[in-house]
Structure formats: structure tokens, C-alpha cells
Amino acid sequence: MGRSRFGELEEQVVLALLQLGGESYAVPVAEELEARAGREVSPATVYMVMRRLQEQGFLTSEVGTPDPERGGRPRRFYRVVRKAVVPALAESRRARLALWEGLEPLLEDS
């Protein structure tokens, strides 16, 4: 069994990005994480995670046009590279489910 190549936050960021249609930037991803996973993460953290994922080949990016709402600064849009991400996510999910096997009663007890 090979190890997942994602850390926990990396995996959540990729999933949030996929929930947003596979392409977005740090602010909506941070909002998505908070809305779906209840995890409050700063856009700065999300940005750095996505930047790292890009270095590892999981994402690509391009810069948008400057926006006055952002003090004239551009957004960097990240796009999921499905070919690289899907196998890694599948592996991560499989490993997680395998570890949970037979442990569901724990949750019922609590």
C-alpha cells in the first residue's frame, strides 16, 4: 500500500477546489473549507498550500486582471490537473476507508 501524497490540509484544499468546479482562487477556497469542513483557514495559508501543490504538479495557475476591490491587485486562479490529482485522491480515500474498516461502532458509541 503506497502512501498518499497529500497532507490533510492539502487534500482538503484540493477537494474544496474540485467542489468549486476545479478552478478558483484562495478566497473562495478558504470560504468553501469553512462552509463544508468547518475549518477556518486564512487565504494566505490556502494560497501557500496551492502554490506548493502547483510545484508538485497537482495544480496549474494563471494570473487574472487587477481588481479595484482588492486594492488593484490581481487574483491567481489555480486549476486542478485531474490526471495527477484523481489517483492521489483515490489512494488517500482508499487508505482512509481501509483504516476505518470495523471501527464504525466507535462512532455509534460516542
Partner: protein, 909 residues
């Protein structure tokens, strides 16, 4: 619209700065977006907490990222510490924090002092930083100004059309060059609204140089600059919104600018107002060939440095080209030095080095640093007292193997925690209060790149100064307290060691008492001068007057008037000014209207003068007075009575404006106070510090006019002299208009009359005189209270120092006092033991301070900006106040000393 950088919390900028350089801009954008979204979803406090967390979050993200990229080099603090051999630990930090709570009075006093002192000390540095702001565009630090500096007049000259043509072809240090000239335009929108809008004529290259794409349509292109090309304009988003209600089909519509309709070809995005706060961009069609070398309109030339070229390299190349031009055009260019400067320096027409050489700023900086030094000295005294009380603890630490360096390190950390905490609080306070005060004082809209907020650079400098204060106030006393001599005493004596306040402490306390007395004297004069409403004592009914300026624009192509372009403009200015004045005078709701540079109720120059025959010299001039330049018809137009001689005639203003014009008129107060009464006609006056025509030039009094509103804040100091001014000599010309009804309600009528006179001329800054006076009073009050407040802090420090000294004396000499009391010493003797040194220091400080204060009050009250006050009265009053406060501070330690029981004191010992 606010500047894109304005309003962004410092914490967010710091967070972005902590990330890799190439990520900063985008992350800052993300943080700003998230921060603005929180405005509607979170409470103020939650949002503030979120904001303050961001730098820590960013630092964590940066460290995590670095660790993942290079797992072999974890950037842990412990590793850095080990490598640097600093030897501090988190325990020191914890101990430092605990000390803040253990000595709350010290924490509060030192904290307030440094929180006020450090940001105040850095105000001049912060102001100088304005000259080095980057333009808020992509790689704004690479956009610079190119200009000529006139070495003879020591001013910048922007008549650079010919130079611009040469620079464009010869300079290789720049990726692109562009020229712009900003001026107000009369704009008539389709909805019938007319009014002044600031706009620029620019070369098409400007937009690509600044890398600013349009929001809609296109920017200007080269073909737009051709003579005879259709009139086109690019507008700002503000104009699109305010005048066209964001019409999506705006491109192709027309707008009338001046007299001509212009087709709108594009809309620039919000936040773009280059070069200042401009809303229109028209093609620059002025060509060098149309003008002689060194003539033509002023243009700002900007350039973007080519890749890999530094500002110094570009400057060197520009100077070389400039030297070549001096050989080609010796008449105009020999005295010019071409140079590359930051854009703000060029926009504010400052010297290349900025205002650093300005003695006023240096003096202010020294004043603030002196206050900070006093503050540090006093905190040092308090910390020395605290350290001395902890000698037993330090001895135990030494016995357990701690080196002196180790102990000093720990004491430094304790001071550092205090100093940096205070600096952070002070910066937050300065950011909040400073920006709100500046917003109230700045009436004109500032250039879009101007940012009074705290820059990262200023914050870092402040933290650096804070660390310096920690060294001065924490380490130096610790060095003294842990000296080997004291350690030896400690080892020899079972009773413990003592630390004595040395000569340095004495000097500090005496100096701070002296400085406090001096500066409080100054603050008191300022308060006496500006506390009341001077305008009530003046005879000027300020609520009846309206102030405004009329600008006659420099618009190509030349008009039907004869002469060079400058001559044509002057002729047109004169026509406009006289025509508008006459039309206003004929208006039934206008009582009086007059023109001039320095009008009643507004600031005047306050030079010193020498009156012939009074025996005054350049070093000891006769008086400081108010000087004004007014139109030759000023007295007649305003209905002022000539009490001696005559008023001005047009002949008095003949010749060039810079030429010597000997005729002056003075007011009655001038005759009474400066000349001592009598016949003033024919008496002569000169300016020892320079004036048009030279320092030795005499001016002859030809008339005396009734006193009227030259110094409205301190009317008792209204002694004034007037110089004559022609109709063409000031553009924009200033007007004072007395109206029958409300001055503000008359503004639309004024604009209409000006438009009738010349459709392209503009009424600028129309404002009721009451508002002008109110703003001047506010400015004076803010300045006065700042000086007084800082002086009061100085006095508080002095008093605290005395308290620390006496309190420490009582603690250290408890046993001695006990023995003296046991041997029959009376209360007087005990008080003398405790307070003798403190009182001697106080008296020495007060005596020195009185001498200092006497000099300050004497100097200041001779200036015509301040009230004429009694020097001994103020100095004596302040000295008594300082002694009284100091006596209060001495009361508690003295009472403690008097209550010492001999038996208890000896038992404790």
C-alpha cells in the same frame, strides 16, 4: 476614491510581506478581499482579531512551506539561536512578561512614555518617507521622474518639451518614457452639469509605461497625438459613474471639455488617477517645434527603468545626455542639471535629496529625539532602581553559574519586551489618531499615490528604535547594576549591596526638568496666542466673505492675442481678472470685491524688517511684520480708508514682477508699533533676510491704510506692509468677495460669471472665509496641543524621575534613617536626608529651564504669528507649576521616610 494602499491594515501588509516576494501582491489582494467581505459578516472585534492573526498565520505558512521544500533545513528558532550563540531562552521571554506584571507602575509609566515617545520621534522620518513612495502600479518602484534642476534659481524646471524629444531617442536606460501635464478643465456633461475637473494631457506611451489597461474601450494611441486628429478623451471610473451613471455604451459618447466636444474612447479602472488625482486623459499635442528651447508648457516626464538598470545608472546616463545638451543649447541649458528622481520628489518639486537638508525638519527631528532621549534616560532611572532591588536575585543567579553576559541578556530581554510592546501600542495609536487628524487638516485631495498611513518601513524603523530604547533604558542600567564592584560588595557584605545614583542620573534629571520648563514655556505662549477666537477681536466680519481663485488656463493653440505664448497668457489673465472683478462689482448682491495674493483672513508672510534711521541692524532688525502682495486697486475695491499719503497706482506695479518696486503702503498699526507713530510717508524699510531686488534694497512708504485683517488669529499683531501687484501677475488670482447674503450660496453665481468671462477659465477652491479661518485655527490648535502635550509628558517624566530617586533613597537608606531617628534626629533632618539631592536637582533643572524658557519665549513672542506676552510672567508661572508638581511627587516617599520606626528598621537590617 481612496488610494489602493490606503485603508489596508498594516497587519495585512505585514502578512503579505512575510511571504515570498513573488506571492506578496496576490496574497495581499486575497487578504484584502477576505477582509472587506468580513465587514458585513463579522463584528468589528472579530474582524480586528482576524486581521491581527494574519501575520502569524502567514509566518506559519511560510515556515511550513520552507520545511516541506527543504526538509533537511528546518528553520526552527532553536537552531537559529544555537547558531547565533545568542543564548536566550523562552524562559527569559516569560520572565520578561512576568516582570511587566510584577512592577505595574514601572510598566505603565515606561509603556506610556515609550508608546508616545517612539512614534513621535519618528514623525519627521515618516514624513520624509512620503518622498520615496512608489507609484501604486505594477513594479511602481521602477517608475521614476526625469527633470532638469535649475542650479541658479535652485528650483526644478519642467519646460522640458525639447529635452523630452532628445531623451526619447538617446536614453537606453529606460524601457519607455512618457510626458504629462496636469491642469483643471471646465467640463460640461450631457446632463447640463458644468464644473472643474482635473485632467492631464499625456503621451499615449503613458498607459503602457504604467501597465494600466483600460476598464472599457481603449487608452490613447499614438495617432491621437497628431495635430488635427479627432478630439478624444479617456475618463476615470469616477467620471463614468458620476456623470454618465455607468452607461455601458459610454465609449463613443461625447463630453464637452472647455469649448470643444471630445469623444470618449475609454474608461480607466477605479484607483487610477495619474499623475495626481486626475480624471481625464487627453492626447498631448504640444510639440517641441512649436516653442523655443526652454519655453512652452510644463510637462512631467516619467520613465520606466529598463530591466537590470538601477536608478543611479539611469541618472548617470541622463546627466551625460544633459551635459551634451548644455553644449548644444548653452543659453538655456548651461545652468540646468538633468536628473532622475522618485516620482513624488518631482511631483512635489523637491530637491533631489528630498527635504533632508531642510533645517526645519532637522530641528523638529532633533526636538523629538531629545524628548525621546529624556524619556529613555528616565525609564533607565526607573529600571536601575528596579534592578538594584533585585541584586540578591542576580547574585543567586551568578552563584549558580550564570555569566554577566547571560544576566545582561536576560535584563535586555525584559526591557525589550516592554519597549517593543509599547512601540506596537504607540504605532497602533498613531495610525488611528494620526490618519484621522491628517484627514481633517488636508482639505485638498491628495495625489492618488500619497499615503499618510503607516508604511512597513516606518513600522520597522519604529521597532528598531524601540530595540534601541531597550538598550539605552535597560542594558546600560543593568551594566551599572551588575558591575564587578557591586558583585564584590555583595560577596563581602551579608547585608546585601547598594547601588548609588551616579552623576549620569543627576545630569539626566536636571536636563529633563530644564527641557520641560523650556518647552512648557513655548507651549504656554502658543496656547495664549491661539486659545481664543482671534477673529472675534478683529474687525473682519468673517461670515460675510467668500474666498476663491480664478485660473486662466494655458490652452493650445495660441489665441488671437499678439506676442509670445507666455505674453499671450499674461494678457489673457489680466483681461479675465479685471473683467471678472468688474462683473462681480456690478452684481447687486456683492458689496466689495478685491484681488491679491495675501488677502485678509488668510496666511501672510511674516518677515523681519529694518526701518531706516532706527539704528536696527541685520542681526537685530526692527520688527517681525505681516507682508502682503495686493492688487493695485485693492484698498479702493475693499473700501479701506487711506489715512496718510496715497494708495497704489498702476505705475507702482510697472515692470517685471521680480523687479524692484519701491512703493509700499503700510497700515496704521505698523505706524503705531513699528514706527512709533508720526508721519510715515517717505520713511524707508528693507528686508535683511532677502527680498526681490536684494537685501540692500529699500522700499519707500507712500501711504498708510486703516488696519484690516492681516493677522486674523492674533489681531493685535496685524502690523503690515503691502506690495503692489498687477492684474496679470498671479494665475490663479485670488479674490475676496463680500456678499449681502450667505457666501456659500453665492458660489454658483460666481462660477456662472466666470464662465461668461472665459469659458475655459476656472473658479478654484471657492470657500467661505469663516471656513478658512476655522481651518487655520484648527491647524494652530493641533500644533499647539501637540507641543504642549509632549512638553507635559516631558514634565511627567521629570517628576517620575524625582519620585524614583526619592523612593529609591528611602528604600536604600531605611537603616540609616532608623539610626538617625533613634539618635534623636528631628523630622527636618530626616526630610533633608531623603530629599536633599532630589531638591538640589530640581532647583538646578528649574534654574536652567528658566534661562532656556526665557530665551524661547523672548524669541517666539517677537514673531508676529504669536501674541505679545510677558516673558517673566510666563517663565515664572511655568517654574512654579513644575516645582509644585515635583513637590507632590516627593510627598509620598517623604512621608514613608518619616514613618520609619527605628526598632523596625534596625531589626530588618
Amino acid at each position: 476614491m481612496r488610494h489602493p494602499r490606503q485603508g489596508i491594515p498594516l497587519a495585512l501588509r505585514l502578512a503579505a510581506w512575510l511571504l515570498p516576494r513573488d506571492a506578496r501582491d496576490e496574497v495581499l489582494g486575497d487578504l484584502v478581499e477576505a477582509w472587506r467581505a468580513r465587514e458585513h459578516t463579522q463584528s468589528r472585534w472579530s474582524r480586528a482579531v482576524w486581521t491581527l492573526r494574519q501575520p502569524f498565520v502567514a509566518l506559519g505558512a511560510r515556515l511550513r512551506s520552507a520545511r516541506r521544500v527543504d526538509a533537511t533545513q528546518p528553520p526552527s528558532l532553536s537552531l537559529i539561536r544555537r547558531r547565533a550563540g545568542v543564548g536566550f531562552s523562552w524562559l527569559d521571554l516569560k520572565l520578561g512578561l512576568r516582570m511587566l506584571g510584577k512592577y505595574p507602575i514601572l510598566t505603565v509609566v515606561a509603556g506610556i512614555t515609550l508608546a508616545l515617545g517612539i512614534p513621535s520621534a519618528l514623525i519627521p522620518t515618516h514624513v520624509i518617507g512620503f518622498y520615496y513612495l512608489d507609484l501604486p502600479v505594477d513594479e511602481g518602484d521602477r517608475v521614476v521622474g526625469l527633470r532638469n534642476w535649475d542650479l541658479e534659481s535652485n528650483r526644478q524646471t519642467l519646460r522640458n518639451l525639447h529635452d523630452f524629444e532628445v531623451w526619447k531617442t538617446r536614453l537606453t536606460s529606460f524601457e519607455a518614457l512618457a510626458a504629462a501635464r496636469s491642469l483643471p478643465w471646465n467640463v460640461h456633461s450631457p446632463d447640463g452639469r458644468a464644473g472643474e475637473v482635473l485632467g492631464s494631457e499625456v503621451t499615449a506611451s503613458l498607459f503602457t509605461l504604467l501597465r494600466e489597461p483600460p476598464l472599457l474601450g481603449r487608452t490613447l494611441v499614438g495617432a491621437d497625438e497628431a495635430a488635427g486628429a479627432p478630439d478624444v478623451v479617456v475618463i476615470s471610473e469616477d467620471v463614468w459613474e458620476s456623470r454618465f451613471v455607468r452607461d455601458p455604451d459610454i465609449v463613443g459618447r461625447t463630453i464637452t471639455i472647455g469649448r470643444r466636444p471630445h469623444t470618449i474612447v475609454g474608461v480607466m479602472p477605479a484607483g487610477f488617477y495619474f499623475p495626481a488625482r486626475d480624471h481625464l486623459w487627453l492626447p498631448l499635442r504640444a510639440k517641441a517645434d512649436d516653442y523655443a528651447v526652454g519655453a512652452g508648457p510644463d510637462v512631467l516626464v516619467v520613465g520606466r527603468l529598463a530591466d537590470g538598470v538601477s536608478r543611479d545608472q539611469a541618472d548617470l546616463e541622463l546627466r551625460t545626455v544633459g551635459t551634451g545638451l548644455a553644449a548644444v543649447w548653452p543659453e538655456t541649458h548651461t545652468r540646468l542639471r538633468a536628473e532622475v528622481v522618485t516620482f513624488p520628489i518631482m511631483a512635489m518639486a523637491e530637491r533631489a535629496a528630498g527635504p533632508l537638508a531642510d533645517w526645519e525638519i532637522v530641528l523638529i527631528q532633533l526636538f523629538f529625539l531629545a524628548l525621546l532621549a529624556v524619556a529613555c534616560g528616565n525609564i533607565g532611572t526607573l529600571i536601575l532602581a528596579r534592578t538594584a532591588m533585585r541584586l540578591d536575585e542576580l547574585a543567586v543567579r551568578t552563584a549558580l553559574g550564570a555569566s554577566r553576559t547571560r544576566i545582561l541578556g536576560q535584563l535586555f530581554i525584559e526591557s525589550l519586551v516592554l519597549a517593543l510592546g509599547a512601540t506596537a501600542v504607540g504605532l497602533a495609536f498613531a495610525q488611528a489618531v494620526g490618519t484621522s487628524v491628517v484627514d481633517r487638516l488636508l482639505t485638498e485631495e491628495m495625489p492618488y499615490w500619497f499615503d499618510v498611513g503607516l508604511s512597513l518601513r516606518s513600522a520597522l524603523i519604529a521597532l528598531g528604535v524601540g530595540a534601541g530604547c531597550a538598550v539605552a533604558a535597560g542594558v546600560l542600567p543593568a551594566v551599572k547594576a551588575t558591575s564587578p564592584r557591586i558583585q564584590q560588595n555583595l560577596q563581602r557584605s551579608a547585608r546585601g549591596a547598594t547601588v548609588r545614583f551616579g552623576a549620569l542620573t543627576t545630569v539626566l534629571i536636571v536636563a529633563e526638568v530644564a527641557l520641560s520648563v523650556g518647552f512648557l514655556c513655548f507651549g504656554t505662549v502658543a496656547i495664549l496666542s491661539f486659545a481664543g477666537d482671534g477673529s472675534l477681536r478683529s474687525r473682519v466680519p468673517v461670515d460675510r466673505y467668500l474666498m476663491a481663485s480664478l485660473r486662466t488656463p494655458w490652452i493650445a493653440p495660441p489665441t488671437e492675442l499678439a506676442g509670445t505664448y507666455e505674453e499671450q497668457l499674461r494678457a489673457r489673465t489680466a483681461l479675465n481678472n479685471e473683467e471678472l472683478r468688474d462683473r462681480l462689482a456690478a452684481d447687486p448682491s456683492v458689496r466689495h470685491v478685491a484681488m491679491g495674493r495675501n488677502l485678509p483672513g488668510t496666511p501672510h508672510a511674516s518677515p523681519v524688517v529694518i526701518v531706516e534711521g532706527t539704528g536696527a541692524t541685520d542681526d537685530a532688525p526692527t520688527a517681525s511684520i505681516e507682508a502682503a502682495r495686493v492688487h493695485v486697486d485693492f484698498f479702493r475695491d475693499l473700501g479701506l480708508q487711506i489715512v496718510q499719503g496715497r494708495g497704489f497706482t498702476p505705475e507702482d506695479a510697472r515692470g517685471e514682477p521680480d523687479a524692484h518696486r519701491p512703493a509700499i503702503v503700510v497700515n496704521e498699526l505698523f505706524v503705531e508699533r513699528v514706527l512709533g507713530g508720526g508721519d510715515a510717508i517717505g520713511r524707508r524699510v528693507r528686508y535683511p533676510l532677502g527680498a526681490p531686488g536684494g537685501e540692500e534694497q529699500w522700499y519707500e512708504i507712500v501711504g498708510v491704510v486703516e488696519t484690516f485683517g492681516t493677522n486674523i488669529l492674533v489681531p493685535e499683531r496685524s502690523e503690515a506692509l503691502y506690495h503692489p501687484l498687477g492684474s496679470s501677475e498671479l494665475n490663479p488670482m485670488r479674490y475676496i468677495i463680500e456678499v449681502a447674503g450667505s457666501p456659500a450660496a453665492f458660489i454658483p453665481r460666481l462660477r456662472a460669471l466666470a464662465a461668461d468671462v472665459d469659458a475655459e477659465a476656472m473658479i478654484e477652491r471657492p470657500e467661505p472665509l469663516a471656513d478658512v479661518v476655522a481651518r487655520m485655527r484648527l491647524e494652530n490648535r493641533v500644533g499647539t496641543w501637540m507641543i504642549f502635550g509632549l512638553s507635559a509628558v516631558g514634565m511627567l517624566l521629570a517628576v517620575t524621575g524625582l519620585y524614583a530617586l526619592m523612593s529609591f533613597t528611602v528604600s536604600q537608606r531605611t537603616r540609616e534613617i532608623g539610626i538617625r531617628t533613634a539618635l534623636g534626629a528631628g523630622a527636618t533632618s530626616v526630610v533633608a536626608t531623603i530629599a536633599r539631592r532630589a531638591l538640589l536637582q530640581l532647583m538646578a533643572g528649574v534654574v536652567l529651564g528658566c534661562a532656556f524658557g526665557w530665551w524661547i519665549v523672548d524669541e517666539v513672542s517677537s514673531q508676529s504669528d504669536f501674541a505679545d506676552v510677558s516673558v517673566p510672567g510666563i517663565v515664572l508661572g511655568v517654574a512654579v507649576a513644575v516645582i509644585a508638581f515635583s513637590a507632590l511627587a516627593c510627598l509620598s516617599p517623604t512621608r514613608r521616610g518619616l514613618r520609619i520606626q527605628p526598632t523596625e528598621a534596625l531589626r530588618e537590617a
